[in-house]
Amino acid sequence: MIQLPENSHIEYLVGQSEIDVRPMVPYNDLVCEFLNEFSSILRKNRNVAKYPDIATFSFWCRKANVQKMKSEFHDNKNRIGRGLAFHITPSNVPINFAFSLVFSMLAGNANIVRTPSKKFPQIDIICNDLNMLLSEKKYHNFKENTVVVRYKKNDEITGEFSKHCDARVIWGGNSTIFNIRKIMVPARCIEIAFSDRYSICVLNAQKIIQLDENNLEKLATQFYNDTYLMDQNACSSPRLVIWLGKSDKKGKEVFWQAVSRIVEKKYHMEYIQTVDKYMQLCRNAIDMESNISFKSNGVNLYRISLEALPENKEQLIGKFGYFYEFETSDINSISHLVDSSFQTLTYFGFEKKIFLDFIFHNRLKGIDRVVPVGKALDIGPIWDGYDVIGNLSRIINIQ
C-alpha cells in the first residue's frame, strides 16, 4: 500500500489516501465483468439521460465492446500492468477522466485520476455510481486500487501524486504538458502525453452529389457530430476540408447546405462565439490577403476557400463552425502541410487505402487516424498513434 497526500485542497471523489499498486493482467475477467456492470448501472441511472456524453461512455464500456477491444488487443505476449498510473485530464471535457481510467484499468493498473477542478455534474454522477459498485465485496481489489481526486492547479500536489507512479498520462494542451513535465516522476515511469492536434476531412464532391436526401442528411449529421458537437475544438474535429477529385461546385454547395440545415436545428451560438469567429475572419483577411475567399451559410457556418495552401496550418484554426476548404485533384499536393501535429483524417467517398498510401509514400510525420466521417470523436485504445493499453502494460519475456 502507498500513502497518498491528504489535505484540505484535495477532494477524494473515489477511494482514499491509500492505494494498492499491485498490477493485474490486462483485460482480466474481473475487470471486464466490472466494466460491464458499471455500464449497466450507468445506463439505468435516470440522471444520465440529460448527458449524452455519459450515455456514450456507458455504451462504450458495455460487454460487447470490451470483448471486441480485448480480441483486437491479444498479441500472444505475457503482459501485466505497470503498477500505478496517474492521469491528468483536460479541464473542459467532463467525461474524459472516465475513459482514461478505464483504459488503464484494462491495462491492469492501479489508478489515480485527477478530474477537472470545475464541478461538472457528469463527474459526480459517474463517481457516485463507481463508488456504489466498488463497495461490492467481489470488487474489493478495485476499491483499493482506484482513486479519483479533484484539486485546483497545484504543482506540489501534482508532485506528490507523481512521486510513486509507474505511468503518467497527461491530456494536453501543449503548455500543460510542458508544465507537468517539469514535475519529476520516478526514473522508470513512462509518460503518455496527448498534445494539441490538428485534424482534417477529405470529401468527394462527386460522390456527395449522388447521395439521396436521406443519405445526404446522414452524412451532414455525422459531419456535424464530428465538429459542432465539441465546438470544433476537439483534437480530432476537422478544421480543414479537402475536396479531393474532380472539381464539383454543386456537390460542395449541396454538402454545406445540408450541414447548415442540421446546424440551424441543433447548434446554439453564444455572443462570444460570434465575436470570436468574426475576429478570426478579420485576422485571416489581414494575414492571408487575396489568397482566400469567404462564404457563409449564416453566422453558424463560415467557410474560407483557399486558392493555395499556406506553408503551415497556423492560420487555419477555426472554431464554432469555421471551416477552411481547399480543392485538389491530387492528395499529395497537401503533404507539405502535414506536420507531426496532424491526428485524424476523416473521409467520405474514397477507399481508405489511398490515405495509407498517401502517408507512407510521402513519409509523413503526422496523421495517425484515418476514419470515416462521423467517427472523429470515437475514442479507442489505439489513440493519437499510441497503443494506449499496450503502453500502459509491460511485457514479460520468458524463455
Partner: protein, 360 residues
C-alpha cells in the same frame, strides 16, 4: 478616387442632442458610407477585410449593412488610415492582468476633434463655465504622457472642463483627506466638478470616507464616472445603489455614469437625469443578436457603435464585446433627442468544449 470627407466642424455648433431620428439617419447614411470608402482607400488591413467580405464601398449601403470591425482587432493589429509620420498621439486601452492593449492612432486633427466633441457633450450637462474640479484619482496615472492610457486620457479630457484641479488620491492611491477637505471648504458655495473611474470612486473615495466616518459637503457637486461595472457587479453594487451610497457619504445629488471606449473616439455616452445613456449627434448605437441580426427596441444583444469622428484610423464602426439594449429614441423625458440605452455587461467567455486545455 479621392473623396472630400465630412468634417465634424460642419455640425460642431449644433446642439449635440438636437437631431431627430430622420435627420440623424440622413446625416449618418451619407457620412458613414463616405468614411467606409475613405478607410478602404487608406488602410490596407481594413481594405483586406472589406474585400474578404465582398463589400463594395463605392456603393451606398444601408447603415446597418456597412461592415463593422471587432474591437479586439485593435489589440492585435496597428490600424490607421494616415501616414505613419502623421501620427500625433497614440492612445491605449487600460490593459489589466497582462492582456494586450488596444492601440489607437490619432493625427493632429483627430486629437483636436476629440476634444471639441467631448466638450460639446459635457457642457450640455454642466454648462460652459469651468468648474472647480476634484479628480478622484492619483496624479501618477498621467506620468507617462507619450502613452495615454484610457484612465489618463479620461482625466486629461475632462480636466478641460475644470479649474483649480485637486487630486483626491496621493501617489499610493490613499485618500488625501486633508486637501480634499480644504478644497471642499474653499468652494463650498460653488458648483464643483468631480471626475473619476467608477471603481476608483467607490473603493478609494466612497468606502474610505465611510471608514473615516467623514461626510463631505458635496451637495452642489456633479460627478462623472465611467470605466465599467465589472468589479462592482462582483460586489453586487448596481448603478442605483451606487448613487444612493454616494448621496449618503457626500450628499451627491448629480451622478452621471458614462460609457465609451478608447477604441472609438467621439463615442461618449453620458447618463442623463433619467438614468439613460444617450447617443449624441456624433455617434450611434445598434444592437445585434448572436446571429448578427438587428435587435428590436428593448431586446438585449451585442453592442455595435458608430462614430463620425475616427478618420485617422478605421474605428468608425465597431462591434464591441458589451451587451446592451436600446430603450427608446428621441423620446427620453430628459428632453435630449437620439437613442437612449443601457449596458448590461460584457460577453462572457463561454465554456468552450474541446480537449486541449487542462490548465494544470
Amino acid at each position: 478616387m479621392r473623396i472630400r470627407l465630412f468634417n465634424i466642424d460642419q455640425i460642431i455648433e449644433n446642439c449635440p442632442y438636437g437631431l431627430n431620428k430622420e435627420e440623424k439617419n440622413k446625416l449618418f447614411l451619407q457620412v458613414v458610407n463616405e468614411m467606409t470608402l475613405h478607410h478602404y482607400q487608406n488602410s490596407d488591413h481594413y481594405r483586406n477585410i472589406l474585400n474578404l467580405l465582398n463589400y463594395d464601398p463605392t456603393q451606398t449601403h444601408k447603415l446597418s449593412e456597412i461592415p463593422f470591425i471587432p474591437v479586439r482587432l485593435f489589440k492585435e493589429y496597428d490600424l490607421f488610415s494616415i501616414k505613419r509620420s502623421e501620427i500625433f498621439k497614440t492612445m491605449t486601452s487600460s490593459g489589466t492582468g497582462g492582456n494586450r492593449v488596444s492601440k489607437i492612432f490619432l493625427d493632429k486633427t483627430a486629437a483636436k476633434n476629440q476634444i471639441k466633441v467631448l466638450s460639446k457633450i459635457v457642457t450640455n450637462f454642466i454648462g460652459k463655465k469651468r468648474l472647480p474640479m476634484l479628480i478622484i484619482d492619483t496624479p501618477s496615472v498621467l506620468k507617462d504622457r507619450t502613452l495615454f492610457s484610457a484612465r489618463g486620457a479620461g482625466i486629461l479630457g475632462f480636466s478641460t472642463f475644470g479649474r483649480n484641479h485637486q487630486y483626491a488620491l496621493d501617489e499610493n492611491m490613499e485618500l488625501d483627506i486633508e486637501n480634499v477637505q480644504i478644497f471642499c471648504e474653499k468652494y463650498k458655495n460653488d458648483k464643483i466638478l468631480l471626475f473619476g473611474f467608477t471603481f476608483v470612486v467607490w473603493k478609494y473615495f466612497h468606502q474610505k470616507l465611510l471608514d473615516l466616518g467623514i461626510r463631505l459637503p458635496l451637495e452642489n457637486a456633479i460627478l462623472f464616472h465611467g470605466g465599467g461595472w465589472k468589479k462592482l457587479t462582483e460586489e453586487s453594487v448596481d448603478n442605483d445603489s451606487y448613487k444612493k451610497a454616494l448621496n449618503k457619504s457626500c450628499g451627491l445629488n448629480r451622478v452621471h455614469n458614462y460609457y465609451g471606449m478608447v477604441e472609438q473616439t467621439g463615442s461618449v455616452f453620458i447618463e442623463c437625469e433619467e438614468g439613460h445613456l444617450h447617443t449624441s449627434i456624433y455617434s450611434d448605437i445598434l444592437i445585434r443578436r448572436a446571429d448578427l441580426s438587428l435587435c428590436k427596441v428593448g431586446e438585449s444583444g451585442l453592442v455595435q457603435l458608430i462614430s463620425l469622428l475616427p478618420k485617422s484610423y478605421p474605428g468608425h464602426n465597431i462591434l464591441t464585446e458589451d451587451i446592451g439594449q436600446i430603450l427608446g429614441e428621441d423620446d427620453c423625458s430628459c428632453g435630449r433627442k437620439g437613442k437612449y440605452f443601457k449596458i448590461n455587461g460584457r460577453v462572457t467567455s463561454a465554456e468552450i468544449r474541446g480537449c486541449s486545455d487542462t490548465i494544470a
